[in-house]
Amino acid sequence: MITHSIDDAAWASPWRARRVGEKVALSLALVLTALLTPAWPGSLAVAVISVALILGPARIRASLLLAVTLLPLGFLVVGALPVAIHFGTDGWGLGPLRVTQEGLAAAAGLLAHGIAGTLAIMVLATTTPMVDLLTWLRTLRIPDPILEIAALTYRLLFVLLSTTMAVLAAQRMRLGAEASVTRRWAAMAATTGSIMLRTWDRTTRLQRGLEGRGYEDSLRTLAPARPRSWAFIAMTGACVAAVWLLSWGLT
C-alpha cells in the first residue's frame, strides 16, 4: 500500500538524519517555484531536480517513486481534460465539445505544474517520517492538543489500515466478492461498522495504557539532535535560484 511505502522509505532514507526544517524549506521552495514559474522551463526543471534528489542523495528506489506518482498522475490527467476541452465550434472534436491548440497548451501546462509540484512534495514525503514532521511543528507554536491528535491519528491509522486489509482479505477468501450486490452492501456496512468499533476499542485500551504511565496533558518526546548543514542550505538556494534564472533567461 502506498501509505506504507512512502512512510517506510522515509524511515530508511539517509536524509532522515537531516534537519526537518531544512527539508521542509527545500520542498516548499521547489513546490512554490513549480507553481510560480512558467511550465517551460520552470516546472520541468523543478521536476528534474526533484527526481535527481529523490533517486540520488535521498536513495529512494525508482520503482517506489514511480508507484507513488502514478495515482496522482491519473488525477492530474482527468482534471486537465476539461481545461483542454471547451464548448464551441472552432478547433476539432465531437459536437459542441471542441479541442483547440490553446486548450491543449493550457492543459499541458497544468500537467507540468502538477507533476513538478507532486515530485517536489515527494522530496519531503519520502525523506521525512510524519513523526519527525509533527515534532518539528512544535517549534511553530501549534498548540499541543492539536499536534497530539495529529500524532495519535498517524499512529492509529497504520493499525487500522492493517485491520482493514485483514478484514477485506478475509472477506475475499470467503468469496465475498462473488456475492450478490445486496449481500456485498450488507457485508461492507458490517466491515465499516466493525472497523469503527475496533477503532474505539483500541483507543480505549490506548487511553488506559497511557493513564497507567501517568499521561495527563501532553505526550512530549525527545527528537534526535540534528546538526545544521550549511551545505544543504546552500544547495537549496542554488537549486531554486537556478530554476528562476533559467526561467527568466528562456522566457
Binding site: 502506498i2 464548448f87 487500522l160 477485506l168 456496512a189 472497523i195 483500541r202 496533558d217
Partner: protein
C-alpha cells in the same frame, strides 16, 4: 475528490487558504477546548481522524463495475460537529498529501474548504433540519452523508471553474464541464454514501449500541443511534 498539487493558479490557491483559515482556527479552538476537558476526547478525535483516513480504503460496490470510496465527513459532522471536522479534515488532507500523494500542499486550502468545511456544514445542516421536523434518525444520517459528499463535489467543481473559465462560455460553461466530467462517479458515490449511512447505523443499532456506550461515546449515542 481532491484538487491535485499545482492545479490552482497562485492567487486562487492563496485565496482559498484565506477563506479556509478562520474555519480551521475555529475548529482548532473547539478541539483544544474539548481536549482540555478530558484527554479521552483527544483519543476519540484521533480515532475519528484515523477512521476518516481509513475509509478511503473501503471500496463501495458499484453497478457500473467501477469502485469509489466514501469521505466520511458527513458522519463525522453528525458525531462531532462541523467545527471539529474542519480541523480533523485538515489533518487528514495533510496526511493524504504526504502519505498518499493525494491532493497537494498549495491546493490544501481549497481542498480543506470543499471537504472539511463546506461538506460537513451542509451535511450537518441537513441533519439538523431532519431532526427539527422529527424525521427518523436513519434518514437524517443518510441524507447528511450524501449531502456532505455531494457538496464537496459541487464546491470542488466551482473552485476549478473559477480557476479555469471556459474560453467561450466563461464560468458557467466551465462549471458545466467540471460537474459533467465528475458526475458519473460522484453522483452514484453520494447516493452510495447515503446508503452506507443507513446500513452502518442499522448495524450499530443491531449489534453495537451498548458497545458504543461502553467505549466512551455515550454523549454521541442518542444523536446517532438508529431507532
Amino acid at each position: 475528490m481532491h484538487i491535485a498539487e499545482g492545479f490552482l493558479p497562485p492567487l486562487h490557491a492563496a485565496a482559498w487558504f484565506v477563506v479556509a483559515t478562520p474555519f480551521v482556527v475555529h475548529g482548532a479552538r473547539a478541539v483544544v477546548r474539548e481536549a482540555r476537558q478530558s484527554p479521552e476526547n483527544k483519543l476519540l478525535l484521533a480515532a475519528a481522524g484515523a477512521f476518516t483516513f481509513v475509509l478511503s480504503a473501503i471500496k463501495l460496490p458499484s453497478v457500473t463495475g467501477s469502485s469509489s470510496h466514501p469521505t466520511g465527513t458527513g458522519a463525522g459532522a453528525v458525531l462531532f460537529g462541523p467545527p471539529v471536522m474542519a480541523l480533523l479534515g485538515t489533518i487528514v488532507l495533510l496526511f493524504q498529501a504526504l502519505l498518499l500523494a493525494h491532493g497537494g500542499l498549495t491546493t490544501l486550502g481549497a481542498n480543506v474548504f470543499a471537504m472539511a468545511i463546506a461538506g460537513p456544514w451542509a451535511g450537518y445542516g441537513v441533519w439538523r433540519l431532519i431532526k427539527a421536523v422529527k424525521g427518523p434518525t436513519w434518514l437524517g444520517v443518510s441524507l447528511a452523508m450524501a449531502t456532505a459528499n455531494l457538496t464537496t463535489y459541487c464546491v470542488t467543481s466551482v473552485q476549478l471553474a473559477l480557476a479555469y473559465p471556459d474560453a467561450t462560455h466563461g464560468f458557467w460553461g466551465a462549471l458545466a464541464k467540471f460537474l459533467g466530467l465528475f458526475a458519473p462517479t460522484q453522483l452514484p458515490l453520494s447516493v452510495a454514501e447515503g446508503i452506507l449511512g443507513v446500513l452502518l447505523f442499522g448495524f450499530f443499532a443491531r449489534v453495537a449500541a451498548p458497545e458504543l456506550v461502553r467505549l466512551g461515546v455515550t454523549r454521541e449515542v442518542p444523536r446517532v443511534q438508529a431507532r
